[in-house]
Symmetry: C2
């Protein structure tokens, strides 16, 4: 590709509305342009990277025996009503009416559509296992689209759906996809982890997320420093901590704590450490139910664990008004004692082992000290509802401690079980002619998000450093002086030879200063570069530069070309 | 690909809701399944054909210097308001609001989005000519979606947009695309014509349609039997016919024609041929304007010509009520004499040369005879507003006559001029630093529609006969008896060799009767077939069958393979 005939509108300034590095660099490198909130044009260079990744995904899906098809973006409401998600899925599901007042939505995912197809076409156990995938444009009406392709509203996704005769066959399909995902992200040259995850609104029995590690990652991940346990913090299990030796249980006392509304305030005022206090939170189900959750003062609530432990579909903090009604107290002084309304009280496992704690008295400016669970207040259930923290004991092995890091979710595999097949009545006849429900799995990869995550993980102050398998071009040939006929001829010849060798090459033939060319080539992250100048040519040599390491080799022309070819082949496993 | 591990749900019965052959065969061959009106799942086999065609299109676009990008489906209303199409585009534009009440639409086309991108990125004449294309999913909320992929609501399209410094440069871009389109449809092995066309709602100065010829085509096409003139009947020009020798102008007479409401009735009653009558139609602009159109009785009105000649944006037949108000007469007796309201009267060119005609008297059950234009009724304008018919003189050359045939529109190239660049203020600085408006062209190809059109043109009573470049597989290897180990081994080996040679092969390894296999292979239209049976193998031979001609060759195994490879290479130019 000739740079002069291509379209790479690079930008010097960092765009002010781009918060994360990948978003900034994709804008600056001319890979994407915003059309509306969370909706982007993929410019030529961006599309090339997207296609590179799509092809890796496609190859590994095919290799794993999945079959490609393509389902529509626009989906009829009927199917979503049948699965129950029409009412369950919130405002992220973009709904609209067509000209005949028929109700439709833009597909954020395709469980309903594929299950509908399957229930019509799959009749016999002989037709399974079968696994379909597509690479398709989805829409989720995110409330806060941001970070460029990282959390867009319209985005490209690979989604796959497996269909099996029973749970253990479904496990095998799940494992095949899990392994395919490992290969996909390995082939991309990314540093990633597969972690246990919450199944969220897709539902289902278990799931793993594939996380590209990056400091800017939105997701917290906990992993054991000893065994292979790794989980999203949303899901990471906490072991009960050893009980604090109770000592003598002191008498409960109510004391004034004027304006002490935070745990920090109260602890400082009472000359206690935060881990001697209990904090109280009130949550609502959105359908009229409330719960009071108790945690050790220095711990954070894990809303997802709390929601799952209650079996609720949704969870949100109770409003000040609701809290006042239930406890009779303003926020800052809440506790489980002396409630105005009956409400379920759940305490974190850690609270069970605490003694002589400070907690709110459900009265403005008042706290209890020396409160003791069981003696002074009752708890309906102790459950693991807190966020794990670094140093927590590993929930799997005996020795390890948890480490915390950040990741970007780029893939997700779910074992769905029979959630959708039961709802949509997708059944088959087994070998005995008996009707059975089909077992399903579903498997997603964010295409644009993976490219963005690759950039989050691989960049420096000069721009993107693409892993070669995702780079829009493998190599650039930079002619130092476009006005020098000899240089241009030599560079053109090198370009042709590289192309003949199957090296995807961008020939920077622009009549620009070398500095401008180097800056642009660094910014757009082409992994390999051959610089052709009159000085080098006089000795029959060119400069080969490796973007990632900064290494520069002065090599005879043919050797330079061979070196590039060798580096490309080595990176494309 | 092993047939047994693939997914080709063929159907014996012709689906009752499929009116056209391509729709029937695509359903029966397991290529597509309907999800909702005009919205289809592309099953694996269908998707393969779609991808084949996409790749041909992509290669030819790249070869023509167009640059691939990808724009979103969801587009903000603002851009459409800026171009003026938000109000102009009817209900085909699917509109909706997002969760924040922002107005959006599903893109039926991308002039607004690309022009918006261009006005931000193109500043100088040096950046042009430039041409962008995408292969993308569009949505048009058709009032009557039908014929499968032929007139769907959600569909895949290749659209390209060229940007030039002036009109003559834009002509060059147009011509490059025109030539690329010729190559694309030639490479597909389709019988097609490029015809002059009306520019429709896209607007612009001139355009050509690419039509795949097929009896079932929705579009009428007129072409000269002598010169290269070809046009959509919507656009095809009529030459004024030689005047009928007037002879004596007879006195106007009003006579009773009880219940004679059609031209045929009136002509028979008056013992005239229909070409001695004038028919009168009343049309409305949708915004309060009306026109009366006069035609020779045996001619048909061309609504598009009438609309264009009036400069209206829309046109529709006036209602019975409106007609009664304007003429004072019920339908069937209309004419230009004695109107109740002032209305523009336009007559077809042919009417100018007529004399002593019969026409309605604007009175129930009454007609005039011997009416003469000029003498008895006045016409504000004579214009070409009729449909051409077979045998009409060619509007271009002196000798030719028009022939009529049917075609399916699969591609369309438009010279847009400055319609969108003016509306969206897309300008550049010329060599003198002066601001100029960019000239545009736009170029579409219906991807799914082309595959469907290929089937309309190429099928027989047994199923599809794919042109090899569009076939989901080039060749199938049919093992006659899947239980015979020798046959399966030999067939497997042939399959492997074909795959190694780059022949895309479907290995029909199913344990089914030969009849079932042949029927399925005929139905899905694989162009080439190797049949492996124990009888042939005993002599070291296989059967090579060519789907299109029915030709069967009994050849030694290696020769059979070589023959297939040769046929594939010959078809893939």
């Amino acid at each position: 590709m000739l740079y002069s005939r291509y379209f790479i509108p690079t930008v010097k300034e960092t765009p002010s509305d781009a918060e994360v590095v990948s978003h900034q660099l994709m804008l600056r490198a001319g890979m994407i342009r915003k059309l509306a909130a969370g909706i982007y044009n993929y410019l030529p260079l961006g599309l090339r990277s997207i296609r590179k990744f799509e092809n890796i995904v496609r190859e590994e899906m095919d290799r794993a025996g999945a079959i490609e098809l393509l389902m529509p973006s626009v989906q009829p409401a009927e199917l979503w009503q049948e699965s129950g998600r029409w009412s369950f899925y919130g405002k992220e599901l973009l709904r609209f009416k067509d000209r005949k007042e028929g109700e439709f939505c833009m597909g954020p995912t395709h469980e309903e559509v594929i299950t509908d197809m399957i229930r019509r076409e799959i009749k016999s156990y002989r037709q399974m296992p079968i696994n379909f995938y597509q690479i398709q444009t989805k829409f989720r009406d995110e409330i806060r689209p941001r970070f460029g392709l990282m959390r867009g509203r319209e985005f490209i996704m690979k989604d796959a759906y497996s269909f099996d005769v029973d749970s253990s066959a479904a496990d095998e399909s799940y494992d095949r996809m899990y392994q395919a995902y490992i290969r996909i992200f390995e082939r991309c040259g990314l540093n990633f982890r597969a972690v246990e995850a919450d199944s969220g609104t897709i539902g289902g029995s278990f799931s793993h997320e594939f996380m590209v590690l990056a400091d800017s990652g939105e997701d917290g991940i906990a992993s054991c420093d000893s065994c292979r346990y790794a989980a999203n913090v949303e899901k990471a299990e906490a072991r009960p901590l050893p009980s604090v030796p109770a000592g003598e249980l002191l008498p409960l006392e109510k004391i004034a704590t004027p304006d002490m509304k935070t745990i920090a305030d109260v602890a400082a005022f009472l000359k206690l450490t935060a881990d001697r206090t209990v904090k109280t939170l009130v949550y609502a189900s959105g359908s009229g139910e409330f719960v009071m959750a108790l945690l050790r003062g220095d711990h954070e609530l894990n809303e997802i664990k709390l929601k799952n432990s209650l079996g609720w579909d949704e969870i949100e903090m109770a409003t000040e008004e609701e809290i006042l009604r239930i406890t009779g107290s303003p926020i800052g002084f809440l506790g489980p004692l002396g409630l105005k309304e009956k409400v379920t009280v759940i305490a974190d496992l850690v609270v069970e082992g605490m003694a002589n704690v400070a907690m709110g008295a459900n009265e403005k400016d008042m706290h209890f000290i020396n409160a003791n669970p069981g003696r002074d207040f009752s708890v309906e259930r102790f459950a693991d509802i807190r966020m794990v923290v670094a140093g927590d004991a590993c929930p799997r092995c005996q020795e390890g401690k948890l480490e915390m890091w950040r990741g970007i979710e780029v893939g997700h595999v779910f074992k769905l079980g029979t959630k959708y097949s039961t709802a949509l009545n997708a059944t088959y006849l087994d070998a005995d002619g008996k009707e059975q429900v089909i077992f399903m799995g579903c498997y997603g990869i964010g295409i644009g998000r993976t490219v963005a995550a690759a950039i989050e993980q691989n960049h420096d102050e000069n721009g993107i450093i693409f892993p070669l398998p995702l780079a829009p071009f493998h190599c650039s040939v930079v002619a130092l002086n476009a006005k020098d006929g000899d240089v241009m001829a030599a560079a053109g010849e090198i370009y042709s030879k590289l192309v003949q060798l199957g090296v995807e090459t961008l020939f920077d033939d622009r009549d620009e200063r070398p500095g401008v060319k180097f800056k642009d080539n660094d910014l757009i992250g082409i992994p390999l570069r051959i610089v052709v100048g009159s000085k080098g040519l006089a000795e029959g040599k060119v400069e080969v530069k490796i973007r990632k390491t900064g290494e520069v080799l002065l090599l005879p022309v043919e050797e330079g070309i061979a070196r590039i070819k060798q580096l490309v082949d080595a990176a494309l496993v």
